[in-house]
C-alpha cells in the first residue's frame, strides 16, 4: 500500500482538519448565521405579509357579504313597508266607503220613515177633513131634500129600491 494515491498523508489530514474547522467556525459565526437568519426572517416576513393579505381579502369579502346582506334586508323591508302602506290605504278607502254607504242607507231609511209618518199624519188629517166635509155636505143635501115632501118620498123609494137590489 505504498501507492501515493491511496496512502493518506498526515500533514494534509492535519491541515484539512484545521482548514475545515476554521472555516466552519468563522463562516458559521459570520456568514451562515446572518445569511440564514436574514433569509428566514425575510421568508417569515413574506409569509406573514401573504397571510395578512389573505386576512384582509377575507375581511373584505366578509364586509362585502355584509353589505349585500344589509342591502337585501333593506330592500325587503322597504318592500314590506310599501306593501303595508298600500294595504292600509286600500283598507282606509274601503272602510270609508262602507261607512259612507252605511250612513247614506241610514239617512235614506230615516227619510223614508219620516216621509211615511208625514204621509200617515197627512192621510189622517185628510180623512178627518173629508169626513167633516162629507158630514157638512150630507147635512146640506139632507136639508135640501127634506124641504120638499115629494122629494123625501122619492128618496126613500130609491133607497129602498137600492136596498132590495143588493
Amino acid at each position: 500500500m505504498d501507492n501515493p494515491l491511496v496512502s493518506p498523508d498526515l500533514g494534509l489530514i492535519f491541515w484539512s482538519a484545521i482548514a475545515f474547522l476554521t472555516l466552519l467556525f468563522i463562516l458559521g459565526k459570520f456568514a451562515w448565521k446572518p445569511i440564514l437568519g436574514a433569509v428566514s426572517e425575510r421568508e417569515e416576513g413574506i409569509r406573514s405579509a401573504l397571510a395578512s393579505a389573505e386576512e384582509a381579502k377575507r375581511e373584505m369579502e366578509n364586509l362585502q357579504a355584509d353589505n349585500e346582506r344589509i342591502l337585501k334586508e333593506a330592500r325587503v323591508e322597504r318592500e314590506a313597508m310599501l306593501k303595508e302602506a298600500r294595504e292600509l290605504k286600500e283598507k282606509m278607502i274601503s272602510d270609508a266607503k262602507e261607512e259612507a254607504q252605511a250612513q247614506a242607507g241610514k239617512m235614506i231609511e230615516q227619510a223614508q220613515a219620516a216621509i211615511e209618518s208625514e204621509k200617515k199624519s197627512a192621510m189622517a188629517e185628510l180623512k178627518n177633513h173629508v169626513a167633516g166635509l162629507s158630514v157638512e155636505i150630507a147635512e146640506k143635501v139632507v136639508r135640501g131634500e127634506l124641504s120638499n115632501k115629494s122629494k123625501q118620498l122619492e128618496l126613500v123609494e130609491e133607497m129602498l129600491g137600492e136596498a132590495t137590489l143588493k
Binding site: 505504498d2 501515493p4 494515491l5 491511496v6 496512502s7 493518506p8 498523508d9 498526515l10 500533514g11 494534509l12 489530514i13 492535519f14 491541515w15 484539512s16 482538519a17 482548514a19 475545515f20 476554521t22 472555516l23 466552519l24 468563522i26 463562516l27 458559521g28 459570520f30 456568514a31 451562515w32 448565521k33 446572518p34 445569511i35 440564514l36 436574514a38 433569509v39 426572517e41 425575510r42 416576513g45
Partner: protein, 356 residues
C-alpha cells in the same frame, strides 16, 4: 452577439490553456525514450512540495517537519526541484531528501535512501511532515476565497433594510436555500436541521470550490486537493464522528438489534450493520476521491495521447475530447460536492431518527 463573442473567447481561452498549460508542463521527452504517461499523470494528481507554474518556473512552498530535534522549516526550493532524493538539505544537524515528493530524514553518514524488499526505507526515517504543499496551498487559497465571498455576502444582507442580498449574496442565496430546502430539511427533518446548516454549507462550498480549483489548469489552481484521499478522509471522518455522537437509542437499536425481524436475522444483521457504520464514511471518502481523481486522469490521459502517439494531428482530437470531458467535469464536481453533503445530511438524519 456580444455573449457569443464572449463565449467563443472563453472557449479559445480554455483551449489554449489546456493545450499550452498541460503541454508546457510536460517533462521534456528525451530522444527515443518512450513517453511515461504514468509518471506524468501521477506527478499531476499527487501532492508536491513546490508549485510548478510553467516551464522552469516553480513557486517554492515552505517545508515544515517535526523531527527529533524539534521543528525544522525551509523552503522547498532548497531541493532545487530534485525529487530523486539526490539533493540533501541539512538543518539542525539532520539531513533531508525529497524522494518522489516524500521527505526522508537520512540516518547519519548516509547520502541516499535505500529500501528493503517491502519498500520500507532501511537507512532513513520519515519525519512528521506538516509542509505547506501544493494541496495545502490550494486549500488555503480556497479558504480565503470562501471567506471573502461569504463574508461579503453576509454583509450585503446587513446593508439592505429588507434583508435583500446584493451582489455576490444574490448569487449565493439560491444555493444556500437549495442546501437548506433540498438537502438539510428532507434528510434531517424540520426539528433538527438548523443545527447542521453551518456544517453542511461549509462542507458543500469547501468541497465544491476545491473541486473547481482542481479543474482550472493553471497556477494558482490545478491542485488535486479534493481528489486526495487525505482530504476526503478528513471530511468523511468528521461526518463519521458527528454521526456517531448524534446516534440515539433508536439508531443504535437499529444497528445491534434490528427491530421487527426474527432473532436469527437480528444476529445475522448486527455485524453487517455494525460494519455499515464504518463503510458509510469510507464510501463517502472513496467516492469523492475517486471521482475527482478520475476526472483529472482522463483529462491528462487525453492530453498524453498526443505525446504517446507522437503526432501533432492527434492534438485537435485530444483537445476536443478534453473540452468535452471538462464540461462534464464541471457538472461532476458540483454533483460530487452535493452528494457528499447530501449523504452526510442523510447519515445525521438516520442518527437522529425517532421511533415511528
Amino acid at each position: 452577439m456580444h455573449s457569443k463573442t464572449f463565449k467563443a473567447f472563453l472557449t479559445i481561452f480554455f483551449l489554449s490553456f489546456f493545450a499550452t498549460g498541460f503541454a508546457g508542463s510536460k517533462e521534456p521527452v528525451e530522444g527515443d525514450e518512450p513517453f511515461d504517461t504514468n509518471e506524468l499523470i501521477f506527478h499531476h494528481i499527487t501532492d508536491s512540495h513546490g508549485f510548478h507554474v510553467a516551464g522552469d518556473l516553480t513557486v517554492p512552498l515552505p517545508v515544515i517537519l517535526w523531527t527529533e530535534n524539534g521543528l525544522v522549516t525551509f523552503m522547498s526550493s532548497e531541493f532545487h526541484h530534485d525529487i530523486e532524493g539526490k539533493t540533501i538539505v541539512e538543518r539542525k544537524g539532520l539531513k533531508f531528501v525529497n524522494l518522489h515528493e516524500k521527505i526522508y530524514q537520512l540516518n547519519g553518514g548516509e547520502s541516499a535512501v535505500n529500501f528493503d524488499a517491502e519498500l520500507h526505507p532501511i537507512n532513513a526515517a520519515k519525519p512528521l511532515n506538516f509542509s505547506i504543499t501544493k494541496n495545502v496551498f490550494s486549500m488555503f487559497l480556497s479558504m480565503i476565497v470562501l471567506l471573502l465571498v461569504f463574508l461579503a455576502a453576509a454583509r450585503s444582507y446587513k446593508k439592505s433594510d429588507s434583508n435583500m442580498p446584493s451582489g455576490i449574496g444574490r448569487f449565493m442565496e439560491p444555493i444556500i436555500v437549495f442546501i437548506r430546502d433540498e438537502v438539510a430539511i428532507p434528510n434531517i427533518g424540520e426539528h433538527h436541521y438548523k443545527r447542521f446548516m453551518p456544517f453542511l454549507l461549509t462542507l458543500f462550498f469547501f468541497i465544491w470550490l476545491n473541486n473547481i480549483f482542481g479543474l482550472i489548469p493553471f497556477f494558482p489552481f490545478s491542485a488535486n486537493l479534493s481528489g486526495n484521499i487525505a482530504f476526503t478522509m478528513t471530511l468523511a471522518v468528521i461526518t463519521f464522528i458527528i454521526t456517531t455522537f448524534l446516534g440515539n437509542k433508536h439508531y443504535w437499536g437499529h444497528i445491534f438489534w434490528m427491530p421487527g425481524v426474527p432473532v436469527y436475522m437480528k444476529l445475522f444483521l448486527a455485524p453487517i450493520e455494525f460494519l455499515g457504520i464504518f463503510i458509510k464514511p469510507m464510501a463517502l471518502m472513496i467516492r469523492l476521491f475517486a471521482n475527482i481523481t478520475a476526472g483529472h486522469v482522463i483529462v491528462l490521459s487525453l492530453i498524453s495521447l498526443i505525446f504517446v502517439l507522437k503526432s501533432v494531428w492527434v492534438a485537435p482530437v485530444s483537445v476536443l475530447f478534453t473540452v468535452f470531458i471538462s464540461v462534464i467535469e464541471v457538472l461532476v464536481v458540483a454533483i460530487q460536492a452535493y452528494i457528499f453533503t447530501l449523504l452526510s445530511a442523510l447519515y445525521f438524519g438516520q442518527a437522529l431518527e425517532e421511533e415511528h
